[in-house]
């Protein structure tokens, strides 16, 4: 049976859920939240989505999408162009190699994997930023930023699981 353009576009939007979610989280990280003390340690929302989709739906999140999401974040935040893209791509690339291990594992194992990889890629980002600016970027806000990202993982991944089960389960 032929499917109409409405169904086709609905299917297209549904299968773009991972990409859309990563871009929305990029935008969320540059919004003015006006919460006391949050700005310097704003969590890396989009790393959570990249980690999640790279494990569960790598077919729906190409490296190109990760790259452009990182570039968008760099442009909107005014940071060194390419730095966030590099950090995101490294996380995506490493998770792809560990996918067979992580897929199907209980939640706490996946979270544990996230808590190993995020400090690693953030540290690489810190090195790049320090070299770029020719200064040592202060480490304390960086540590707080990583801790906050790790603590947020269960909440955001919960929403992503819901999206995966409702929109992507048969695609």
């Amino acid at each position: 049976m032929e499917i109409g353009w409405v169904e086709k576009s609905a299917l297209g939007i549904k299968s773009a859920t991972p990409i859309i979610s990563v871009f929305l989280l990029v935008v969320a990280s540059v919004l003015p939240w006006h919460l006391p003390g949050l700005a310097p340690i704003t969590p890396a929302f989009s790393l959570i989505a990249i980690y999640f989709w790279a494990i569960y739906r790598p077919d729906k999140l190409p490296y190109a999408a990760t790259f452009f999401a990182g570039i968008l974040q760099d442009i909107l935040s005014g940071g060194p162009l390419g730095m966030t893209a590099l950090v995101m791509l490294l996380l995506h690339g490493i998770v792809s190699t560990q996918r067979n291990f992580l897929q199907g594992k209980p939640f706490y194992v996946v979270w544990w994997g996230f808590s190993l990889l995020v400090p690693l890629v953030t540290l690489i980002g810190w090195g790049v930023a320090s070299l770029y600016f020719g200064l040592v970027v202060p480490i304390v806000p960086l540590v707080m930023h990583v801790i906050l990202t790790l603590l947020l993982y269960p909440f955001i991944s919960f929403v992503l699981v819901k999206l995966q089960n409702s929109l992507l389960v048969r695609i």
Partner: protein, 293 residues
């Protein structure tokens, strides 16, 4: 037949693996190349950056409204809790300020008379544009804000940004309808300041945290905790006398400064069009970009 099929499958798998891996390395290469280009030739990519922020700023402005209402709820709860304490504090402050009022008006008229007597050249006037903040670059690497006003509204690179509390930062990128502010707390921010007491000059350096640090203060300077500092006007980027903050801590290694501005509460900022007569090109007021770069 089966062997041929198996070989074809292997071939497909190999190409898929190779393509996936190579696309990873290609994009890593792009990212590294962009980092290098933006470090070596920052101006070459500026046009692209500002064009994209011009497109994104209305979208961010639209989305940031609900975000700011979330913060308003938090603010309301906080202010209800603190209202009694705040009221007592304001009453006390008000009675103290009432004592100052006659003294200030006396000093103002005296100052004016003395200036006239000495034939002092007045500081140039500054006009300002007020704009809404639509983006706040969160994260530990940069401290910048995005405002929904650009060159079309008279906002140019190099202009000082203030709020009623004091100095916020300066414009580092200006598109047609959006501009980026480098906050004074950013790691790359350097502000020439002067201590109100003692008139010693120094440079205020951002640390990507909520406090700042004074460097290059003369050795004979004797700063105290609570001393206030203002912009010195050196370099011509900032008008002199803008309040910046006060000294909050002095140790062997550093002098810490607490800024007047509470950055997480900012919703609107004013961008000053300040120009020193005779220095700037008349066509582009406060277009300090060329001088800074």
């Amino acid at each position: 037949m089966r062997t041929i099929q198996g070989l074809a499958l292997l071939q497909i798998l190999f190409f898929r693996f190779f393509f996936q891996r190579s696309s990873f390395f290609i994009f890593i290469g792009f990212a590294v190349a962009l980092i290098v280009i933006s470090q070596v030739q920052p101006l070459s990519l500026e046009k692209i950056r500002t064009s994209i922020t011009d497109i994104a700023s209305p979208v961010l402005g639209f989305i940031s409204r609900p975000a700011s209402s979330v913060s308003n709820i938090a603010d309301n709860i906080e202010s209800i809790v603190a209202v009694r304490k705040e009221n007592a504090k304001l009453r006390e402050e008000n009675s103290r300020l009432m004592l100052w009022q006659p003294l200030v008006s006396h000093l103002e008229s005296e100052n004016l008379a003395l200036r006239k007597l000495l034939n002092v050249i007045p500081d140039p006037d500054s006009k300002f544009t007020t704009a809404r903040i639509v983006g706040d670059a969160g994260g530990p690497f940069v401290r910048t804000l995005l405002v929904a006003a650009g060159e079309n509204q008279g906002v140019y690179k190099g202009q000082a940004v203030i709020t009623h509390g004091g100095l916020v930062g300066r414009i580092v990128e200006a598109g047609n309808s959006s501009a980026r502010i480098l906050l004074i707390t950013d790691l790359n921010s350097r502000i020439p300041i002067v201590l109100e007491k003692g008139r010693n000059r120094g440079i205020l350096v951002g640390l990507n945290t909520d406090t700042l640090e004074i460097q290059f203060l003369p050795l004979n300077a004797q700063p105290d905790i609570g001393d206030r500092l203002v912009t010195s006007g050196a370099g011509g980027v900032f008008p002199p006398g803008l309040p910046v903050g006060y000294i909050s801590d002095i140790s062997e290694e550093s002098i810490q400064v607490e800024p007047w501005v509470t950055f997480d509460r900012l919703e609107f900022v004013s961008i000053l069009d300040y120009i020193l007569p005779g220095i700037m090109p008349s066509t582009r007021r406060a277009g300090l970009a060329d001088m800074i770069d």
